[in-house]
């Protein structure tokens, strides 16, 4: 799942569950996901 898709889905889910206070936290988690996925230690089937 791409981070953008994940974030869109997660934000909608938080809204549906009545947890709007999750929104800024989900955006912070998305940033952490980007840093993690950009790291050079990740394995990649195409490399």
């Amino acid at each position: 799942m791409t981070i953008d898709t994940w974030l869109k889905t997660a934000l909608a889910d938080a809204e549906r569950r009545g947890l709007p206070e999750l929104k800024p936290l989900l955006e912070s988690l998305a940033q952490a996901m980007r840093t993690l996925r950009d790291a050079d230690f990740n394995e990649d089937a195409g490399r």
Partner: protein
């Protein structure tokens, strides 16, 4: 208030009894707990019974060692048979522990007096100890401020003289952060060195247990007891002139309160004057530490709390519930990436330690924050309190290296600052010898 060693000398010289020491701690709890809320449950009758037994044993010639008759407070995340383990949460209402945690059994065998259960950040899932079903724990030095967390009540109980030592747990810094915020010594041993059976988990692969004390030798005595060993020999300091230390400056010294930075640098200067060699070191993937920590701790916490988040969400404090709900959005593929990154970080810390006895860095980038503050100002930057408080400690939960925080001075407002030393894995005793040498330099 005495250190464990000072009390031990007086106890064996018959200048004080365990019962008298315990009564003094109980008196201080009665007088001061309303102010700092360090204790959730005071075990008055049981503590007095244990103290009288310790006195009877000593009079009969049985000396269990350094912890004999020593009042010890216990973070309310450890099972003590017959008492509730609340983890500072209403989720645990009606819980009664059927058995002692293994480390509690070891403390009993060492002759410790269990004086009560201390307040914490709910389920150890926070760094300030303010989100607790029992109200916030407060810093004895300034009750408008946090004692740090999650073992905040434990560190506060030592500073307030309500116990001579405390048992805490540390998943991202929860022993070292309150030690820095309150001015105590806090030891996180090597991962898996002390048993975690009977401890409410936050993340089984990051959770450590360890002591909070008034001195490094006291941490040694507690560590020996927690290991279930006879504490027969004193701690000997490594000669300061033989120490080779390394400071990981990039990332770890990038974001520090001005007074914390000044205190840290003057501590390094004192160590240099004492003859220690201090080099610089680097952790190449330092910027991935927080994302890796977040994914592993969140994934583990989400698994443990999934059922109760569905069945009793309103029993959590709102901030802890929201962050646990956030944890449930971690994806498996990112959790696996974090596990791979953790191995990289472990090798990088090993490499930084190569040729050195220990890493040295601050324990906490800021002095104890004001209770209720979500952000603090560092220079021109406004920083979120929680990630900032974890910034310098969480790496060593990921890598499992032993780490200790000890006091290294105060700010102009009298708030303590902590110095952190990190040793080689499975070399906790060596780290304590180094820390004892550093403590002697910094306190002279």
């Amino acid at each position: 208030m005495f250190t464990i060693e000072e009390f031990g000398r007086k106890l064996r010289a018959r200048e004080i009894s365990a019962a008298e020491m315990t009564d003094e701690c109980l008196r201080r709890i009665a007088d001061g707990n309303a102010r700092i809320n360090a204790f959730i449950h005071v075990m008055t009758d049981e503590a007095r019974r244990q103290a009288h037994e310790a006195d009877r044993e000593l009079a009969g010639g049985r000396d269990r060692g350094a912890l004999h008759g020593v009042p010890v407070s216990i973070k309310d995340i450890f099972d003590i048979r017959g008492t509730a383990t609340t983890a500072a949460s209403r989720v645990r209402d009606n819980h009664v522990a059927g058995h002692d945690a293994t480390v509690i059994t070891h403390l009993r065998h060492a002759g410790a007096v269990l004086i009560g259960k201390t307040n914490l950040h709910e389920f150890a899932f926070g760094t300030t100890s303010e989100d607790s079903a029992f109200g916030p724990a407060r810093n004895p030095i300034d009750p408008t401020r946090s004692p740090g967390g999650s073992s905040g009540g434990s560190a506060a109980s030592i500073v307030a003289g309500m116990a001579l030592a405390s048992l805490g747990s540390d998943t991202g810094g929860s022993i070292r952060i309150p030690s820095a915020a309150c001015g105590t010594v806090g030891l996180k041993p090597t991962y898996d060195e002390l048993p975690i059976e009977g401890v409410v988990p936050l993340s089984r692969t990051l959770d450590h247990v360890g002591p909070i004390t008034r001195s490094v030798p006291d941490a040694w005595h507690m560590q020996q007891a927690l290991l279930g060993r006879e504490a027969g020999r004193p701690l000997v300091a490594t000669p300061i002139s033989s120490l080779r230390l390394a400071v990981p400056r990039a990332y770890f010294c990038d974001l520090l309160d001005d007074e914390v930075r000044a205190t840290f640098e003057s501590s390094l200067e004192a160590l240099r004057k004492g003859g220690a060699r201090i080099d610089d070191a680097g952790i190449q993937h330092a910027k991935t530490i927080a994302p890796i920590y977040m994914h592993i701790s969140f994934g583990d916490a989400a698994a443990y709390h999934a059922t109760t988040l569905e069945t009793m969400p309103d029993r959590y404090t709102p901030p802890v519930r929201v962050r646990l709900e956030l944890a449930r959005y971690v994806l498996a593929e990112d959790y696996v990436r974090a596990l791979a990154g953790r191995e990289v970080l472990r090798r990088e810390v090993d490499a930084a330690l190569s040729g050195h006895d220990a890493l040295v860095l601050p324990s906490l980038p800021i002095p104890a924050p004001v209770i209720g503050a979500n952000f603090v100002q560092i220079g021109s930057a406004k920083e979120a309190v929680r990630p900032l408080m974890l910034r310098l400690t969480q790496l060593f939960n990921l890598t499992g290296h032993p780490a200790i925080s000890l006091p290294c001075g105060t700010t102009s407002a009298g708030l303590p600052c902590g110095l952190q030393l990190v040793g080689g894995r499975m070399h906790t005793e060596s780290l304590l010898r180094i820390a004892f040498a550093v403590e002697q330099v910094l306190s002279s």
